[in-house]
């Protein structure tokens, strides 16, 4: 029986299926790297509780109970724990996507493998996509863990009918985050100390994506800016679907706006990343720290 002829030539650049399979392998590689350190697994399991505890204790110190009349006047619920726990659950996904994928190229640079990766027949976007797959899985598991802990330990109750549209909000948010990620990756390629810019940008996004407060408490200028941040629209829709149910017009209008913002952010991120990648390669600065 004749041997099947192996596919010749570099398949890079061609075939969406090939690029997706490479991205999948990159994401598995990242899981293997993480799980090689036993403490990582331990932290992954306990972090949902650890990140929620300070807020829980702070909220209790402020209100002395599980409700806040002030929050009730500003939003659709006075249950500050439910409001904040839902907000915080998405925070781990946002963090994982922004930091994990945004700094993916920098980590390869630190490990001395960026140049090797750049000469493989794989698109730059595939490299980022692989990291994004991993970080969405990592952050997504974090969301599930945190919501489970909130429900089982702290008695969080959600509207089960709102789960599907809430998942849609999360999916749209993840798409929007990829635009930010492309932008961060561009900064990482251009700036030697990119973590500063990434840290500031992530801080700003988190401030404008209020996990535990409504944006009406922000200064007016910041309220306007927050309206244009995809993560804010996604979080509001997610929270309203899970607390008020699927038939909440304000949540659906947030989703509509989110679609438009996603398109804008992803296209802008793509343009900026392409431009910076071309610039860095032209200046032969890939290996520079």
């Amino acid at each position: 029986m004749p041997k099947r002829k192996a596919k010749e030539g570099p398949p890079g650049g061609g075939g969406l299926r090939y690029q997706v399979s490479i991205a999948w392998r990159l994401s598995i590689k990242q899981w293997r790297e993480e799980l090689a350190y036993p403490l990582t697994l331990l932290y992954f399991v306990v972090s949902p509780v650890l990140t929620l505890l300070p807020l829980l204790l702070y909220g209790y110190a402020l209100t002395g109970s599980g409700t806040s009349a002030s929050l009730g006047g500003l939003t659709y619920t006075s249950d500050w724990f439910a409001y904040s726990a839902l907000g915080f659950s998405l925070a781990s996904l946002i963090n994982s996507c922004l930091w994990g994928t945004g700094m993916a190229l920098r980590r390869e640079q630190w490990a001395g493998t960026l140049e090797s990766l750049y000469v493989t027949p794989v698109s730059r976007f595939t490299m980022l996509f692989g990291s994004a797959i991993h970080n969405v899985q990592h952050g997504g598991l974090g969301v599930i863990l945190q919501l489970t802990v909130s429900a089982l330990v702290f008695g969080l109750r959600v509207n089960l009918a709102g789960i599907l549209p809430a998942l849609l909000a999360v999916a749209l948010m993840v798409i929007g985050l990829q635009g930010f990620v492309l932008f961060f990756a561009a900064v990482v390629l251009l700036a030697r100390r990119a973590w500063m810019a990434v840290e500031l940008l992530v801080g700003s996004i988190r401030l404008l994506t209020p996990m535990s407060y409504p944006i009406v408490v922000l200064p007016v200028m910041l309220q306007t800016v927050a309206q244009g941040v995809p993560t804010y629209q996604a979080l509001e829709a997610f929270r309203q679907f899970l607390l008020l149910g699927p038939f909440t017009p304000a949540a659906w209008s947030s989703l509509g706006l989110l679609l438009v913002l996603d398109a804008l952010v992803v296209v802008l991120g793509w343009i900026v990343f392409r431009a910076s990648d071309g610039f860095v390669r032209y200046r032969a600065g890939i290996g520079k720290f």
Binding site: Y37, Y43, L57, Y58, A61, L62, T63, S68, A69, M196
Partner: protein, 301 residues
Amino acid sequence: MVRNPRSRLVASSRRQTAGQPTPVKLPRVIDFSAAGTIAKNSLRISLRYPANFLIWGVLPLFWFLPFIFTGIAFTGGTTSASYQSQTGYANFIPYLVLGWVVFTYVDSSVWGVGNTLRWYQFSGVLEPMFMIPAPRLSILLGAAVAEMVTTSISTAILFGLSLVIFGLSFAASAVLPVLILLFLMIIGFTGFAFALSGLILVFKDPSVLTELVDTIIYILTPINYSINVLPLWAQPLSLILPSTFALVGIREAALAAAGLPQLWIDIVMLVILDVLFWALGMLLFQVAEHHTRRKGTLGEY
């Protein structure tokens, strides 16, 4: 007779140096002169990136502003009767500002000093650093001194910005007690960083270990709330952290105009904890270092 190979090496080195001036006896635990040189070197590197100071002066604002906005949303203002009954202070803004300013030092001890050896490893200079004729703890002490200086510059920026943004003011008489308490806390956490460095030598991945330790200290320290709101079993754990006594004392000095005589309990407790943390830190580091070298995993990632 079983001869220790190390003593043979020493004997051979003595033979080689016969007739020459007697070599200087090296300190066994910490070489302060080497630590000073390492601190100067680290500071020189830090000063090459002046933007770092500004960034670290501004970044913590992004971390504690959400707590302030949350407080406003939950209370409808900047004060709360419940908060007063829990912490002794009704206004949560100065309480949070002081908490976060002090926490930047804790953070820098854990992240900066605790991870020093890992940064050296990433930069490929860990083995050469381990070959310098000085005890390893000198490297960590040098890094701790440099970190204290750089953190103080960033914290001054953070504190100044917070005063301007929130319109806060504190009595000048609080400066001396605050500085004393802060200094004693930093000393304690330097000992803690020795232990953490040892653990990082053994476990290798610093990000998770550091994150875990930092988060636990953050939860147990009264940064955003008083330790009264912690579960009963966790309250004693909070009392073994220097940051708890430092923060309680600093708030009393800055917000309740307490003088040094009123703060003696905090000062004595900090001194006791400093001694304990240094003793335990040095011991743990030496055990971890010995373990790593015996297993030959020093250069492993």
